[in-house]
């Protein structure tokens, strides 16, 4: 089971976020660099807090490209993605944003408020630049639509474990395994499960049903709860190793 770790770029400040993500990449299989947006409607309180803090500290989108490039040069084998809201991309120009991402060594881009219906331009430019698209499937997505979503996905399918926003949850919903079986049958793409993943048990439960998990809020919380980012780095490393079952 692959682990894709999300972290908010610029939180708690730009350099600390770089160092934390560098530590993350030593353990995790993939990294999602979150580019903060002022109004993150798909995110729960933890990532909202991190995004707001990053913006308060003066985060600029151009810094995300720099951070990505630095990380990629140290971890050339690992896949690094951007996760951001559509307005950030649109404002920079879809073409320009995607080209800069490619130049920074980005593998794919995740846009939580972009549906396949609205993304024909985006997908076309992504394809030209050989970047991977990631689309979401939720527990409410009907079968016919899963097909459509799958056909536009060149990276992996991001399965939302339960209706709601990002954030840690105690338990995974009971019907998740059946849902994942259905999605796999229809989509025949790699499936990563996100929203609420925060424990080793969650991952064990999903073994054989998903190709990977995405963990984000739980990592951000480690930083919120610790005084120094060095301490947070250690805690995050431990936590990721624990998730992988290495500790």
């Amino acid at each position: 089971m692959k682990i894709c770790a999300y972290f908010t770029c610029g939180f708690p400040d730009i350099e600390s976020s770089f160092k934390i993500m560098r530590e993350i990449l030593k353990v995790a299989d993939m990294l999602e660099i979150g580019i903060p947006f002022s109004d993150p409607i798909a995110d729960g309180p933890t990532i909202q807090f991190a995004s707001a803090k990053a913006l308060e500290m003066g985060f600029k989108v151009s810094q995300a490209f720099e951070v990505a490039e630095r990380l990629k040069s140290q971890f050339p084998q690992k896949k690094i993605l951007f996760m951001t809201y559509y307005n950030i991309i649109l404002r920079k120009g879809i073409e320009s944003f995607i080209r800069k991402s490619r130049d920074a060594g980005i593998w794919g881009i995740i846009v939580p408020d972009l549906t396949p219906e609205e993304s024909s331009d985006f997908c076309e430019i992504m394809r030209k630049n050989e970047l991977k698209t990631v689309f979401f499937v939720s527990p409410l997505t009907p079968e016919k639509r899963i097909k459509k979503i799958s056909s536009m996905t060149s990276g992996f399918i991001y399965y939302i474990s339960t209706t709601g926003v990002t954030g840690e949850r105690e338990k995974l919903p009971e019907e998740i395994k059946n849902k994942l079986k259905d999605v796999k049958k229809i989509a025949q793409k790699e499936i990563f499960v996100g929203f609420g993943i925060s424990k080793r048990e969650h991952i064990k439960e999903l073994e054989g049903f998903a190709d990977g998990v995405i963990v984000g809020s739980a990592l951000i919380r480690k930083v919120i709860e610790t005084k120094s980012s060095e301490e947070a780095e250690k805690k995050i490393t431990l936590f990721l190793e624990e998730l992988k079952g290495e500790k």
């Binding site: 109004d39 309180p45 408020d113 549906t115 499937v137 409410l140 979503i149 209706t163």
Partner: protein, 386 residues
Amino acid sequence: MYYGEYGGQFIPETLFPVLQELDRAFEKAKKSKNFAKKWRYYLEVYAGRPTPLFFAKNASEKLGIKLYLKREDLLHTGAHKINNTIGQCLLAKEVLKKTRIIAETGAGQHGVATATACALLNLKCTIYMGRKDVQRQKINVLKMKLLGAEVVPVSSGTETLKDAINEALRDWITNPTSTHYVIGSVVGPYPFPKIVSFFQSIIGVEAKQQILKLEGRLPDFVVACVGGGSNAIGIFSAFLKEKKVKLVGVEAGGDGNLHSASLTRGSLGVFHGMKTYLIQDEDGQVLPPHSIAPGLDYPAVGPEHAYLKDSGRAEYYSVQDEDALEGFEFLSKFEGIIPALEPAHAMAWIIKNSKELKGKIVILNLSGRGDKDMEIYSNRKGEHQA
């Protein structure tokens, strides 16, 4: 789904099937005689429709124009918002079979109108309101609670209207099957702009009939304030095809520096599920809006307005806080009508442009009454006397 290039559905996947269901339900309701009958019934005997079209004689003489006021301020709860909340709550209850309503509110007008419709129709109601607005609008918070709604203060972002919408959307993403989100303006992902426009279009339908009866002809100008833009779309819609009628939307120019004038000073963006004009920085971060009128204090605008602006069918201008206060005092003094600070912006534009409007028939959509704004007015006056 689109108004030119504007509108669309920029939303998390979880909401996609819910918005499809909503669209189907709305189209079904629109065709249903039974639904129309119920909606009309409540609007007439509960909300107080039709609202009069009042010839403002004193103001007209002062300005050298023929000024008519569409008296939405006389509606139950004091503004046009109730047209939409009764419509959407009926839709939620009768067609969607939902039991829980959520809504956002800035100043509290839409929150009160939603809580009112929920009390009337026996629905559970939760209102999201920015923490700053909760503190500033204590009376409206009290009203909503009295009407049986739960008021949830939102302490993220700027702690105002846009953040209340963010939080309402998050609630909806979390409870998509049990809950209907009654959005308060012609904003948000499709089909919301269409639905709210439909429920508000009754303003224009009435105004057109009324002016034809009173004047025997169409007006030269229809003027309305624009925040999200629901009262403006409501009155514009009946005149869109009457090319000789000039449509004017008036935005909040704020204090000149901070403002809410997304159409006149914003740029293309995607926000709250729609592509539209947005007040943002060069990175695409949304900037905090400002207006003396709480109901205009929103950094984006409904996509149909963006389209009407680009196509030239409607013209948009902005007036500043100071001008709006002048409009507020003008209607109070000369007509005995204390307007809300929102339509006071539209009044101010008419005053400023009275020379060009000379002899013309002008309808102003008086979208709400000013009781709610007395504290703001009093603070402003105090500030000036000091």
